[in-house]
């Protein structure tokens, strides 16, 4: 990144883990449209980002996996209401990493010994997965076969390592990146859980506020939304 050094417009983005595979393409798009902007990304847990932002973490743009965290950041006075935006809606799938089932459905969970879901207490996909299990009346049956990952990535690792039989995780993880060709999956109907709307915010303290807004604009642009769609998000 020899020319990155010559750029002086830096945007430090805290990005939810489920965008890990999609976001690099967004950055390429930013480069194309604003060659002078250098986007530096940190992927991680949305909740942890919020804690850090509340304690002064030097981020300019925060892309969360839900809408509540960015709203809290606004409530705490670190961003203005007007900077809140919604950029995507996540999709939930049932994933069979071994590929023994051609089209694994949520009902196939009945035959699994161990089902991995993200921790519903703090991971948005975990909450959604639990709602889906409740709506389909499976929770009482499966309750003691659930294992809880710290986040969707770890939940996928439970299954990918062979320790869990199936996992309820984000679509974005199984159609792109290293897991793309592993196992089989089917989407869980969106009416089984509250929508996984993902929001973000540009922070007041942003080093280069307009540049951060530019990145947001690229993300929300049709070309940006098209990329997200390819990586398993709805708008």
């Amino acid at each position: 990144s020899a020319d990155a050094a010559s750029q002086d417009r830096v945007v430090r983005a805290a990005v939810a883990s489920d965008l890990r595979f999609a976001f690099p393409e967004i950055i390429e798009l930013v480069q194309e449209e604003h060659p002078d902007i250098d986007v530096r990304v940190t992927y991680g847990s949305s909740g942890q980002f919020m804690t850090q932002i509340l304690n002064g973490a030097p981020f300019d743009l925060y892309l969360s996996a839900d809408q509540a965290y960015p709203a809290t950041v606004v409530d705490e006075g670190l961003a203005s209401e007007g900077q809140l935006f919604r950029y995507a809606r996540g999709r939930l799938v049932v994933w069979d990493p071994q590929g023994t089932l051609a089209t694994p459905t949520i009902d196939d969970a009945r035959n699994a010994n161990t089902i991995a879901v993200a921790n519903p207490r703090h991971a948005p996909y975990g909450r959604a997965a639990m709602e889906a299990l409740i709506s389909s009346g499976l929770l009482s049956v499966l309750e003691d076969r659930l294992v809880f990952g710290e986040n969707v990535s770890q939940t996928a690792e439970f299954a990918q390592s062979g320790a869990a039989d199936i996992a309820l995780i984000a679509l974005s993880l199984v159609i792109s990146g290293p897991l793309a060709n592993t196992g089989t999956w089917t989407e869980i109907p969106q009416d089984l859980f509250e929508p996984l709307d993902q929001g973000g915010v540009v922070l007041d303290e942003a080093q280069d506020f307009t540049a951060a807004q530019s990145v947001r604009d690229v993300l929300l642009s049709p070309r940006g939304q098209e990329i997200l769609a390819r990586y398993g998000f709805e708008d």
């Binding site: 010994n113 161990t114 991995a116 921790n119 869990a164």
Partner: protein
């Protein structure tokens, strides 16, 4: 607070400590008393579990213990239940991840046992095992206590490895430390604070008791009377 988690944590920490001490004694004795040119390498290897981030160590352990691994399969076919996401799996994982803390302080203590006393033991006809149990170990009480304390405390506080290998199953593999972690992630700070405070006070009690007992018994009974006053070795 979660009584199940407390009970589980206690059982795990106590069992891990007992197993670790049982393992650490022969390992440390061998490293201390059987020096070869490669001994420093082995000493370093024992410290290695520390170098990997716990989650990563946990991932590798999960792969090694999971249902796809030979060990995991053998275990399942022998004992009827899988090793990953079980208490036994947790135990193995925390033994491995706390091994350095158990071995190294004991090794230090063994190294400072005067060689002449070990030689006296051998001229009196004692072999390795007797010499270690009767001479080296009693003279290494302080190292043994440190080993036990560090192993216990680290197991109580460990969560990366345990989360990965255990899957955070309530009542089965959810320890207090995972509980605190969950609370923090879920912004339930009051619950995190009360559980943390409990953990700290409880550990303080256990550790203080260990140190006090160790100190008491390291001063021979008959000499104790000569220490009615505070003992300051150097004025």
């Amino acid at each position: 607070m979660d009584i199940d988690a407390l009970w589980l944590t206690l059982r795990l920490a106590a069992l891990t400590t007992v197993i670790l001490i049982a393992l650490a004694i022969p390992i440390a004795a061998w490293l201390a008393f059987h020096r070869r040119f490669y001994t420093p390498v082995l000493e370093a290897i024992v410290a290695l579990p520390l170098v990997l981030p716990p989650t990563v160590l946990g991932y590798y352990l999960l792969v090694a213990l999971g249902s796809q691994s030979p060990l995991g399969q053998w275990w399942t076919s022998t004992f009827g239940s899988p090793l990953a996401f079980s208490f036994n799996g947790l135990l193995i994982a925390s033994v491995i991840s706390s091994l350095p803390f158990a071995v190294h302080p004991l090794l230090t203590a063994f190294t400072s046992v005067p060689t002449k006393l070990l030689q006296a033991s051998t001229t009196l006809g004692a072999g390795w095992p007797r010499t270690i149990v009767k001479v080296a170990l009693p003279l290494s009480r302080s190292g043994l206590a440190t080993s036990a304390v560090l192993a216990f405390a680290h197991t109580v506080g460990e969560f990366g490895v345990i989360l990965m290998v255990g899957g955070n199953i309530p009542g089965q593999t959810r320890t207090l430390s995972i509980d605190v972690y969950d609370s923090v992630q879920a912004f339930d700070y009051s619950s995190a604070a009360s559980t943390s405070a409990f953990l700290l006070v409880f550990s303080l009690l256990v550790l203080t008791t260990t140190y006090t007992l160790n100190y008491r018994s390291s001063v021979p009974r008959q000499l104790a009377s000569s220490y009615p006053q505070p003992v300051t070795v150097i004025q």
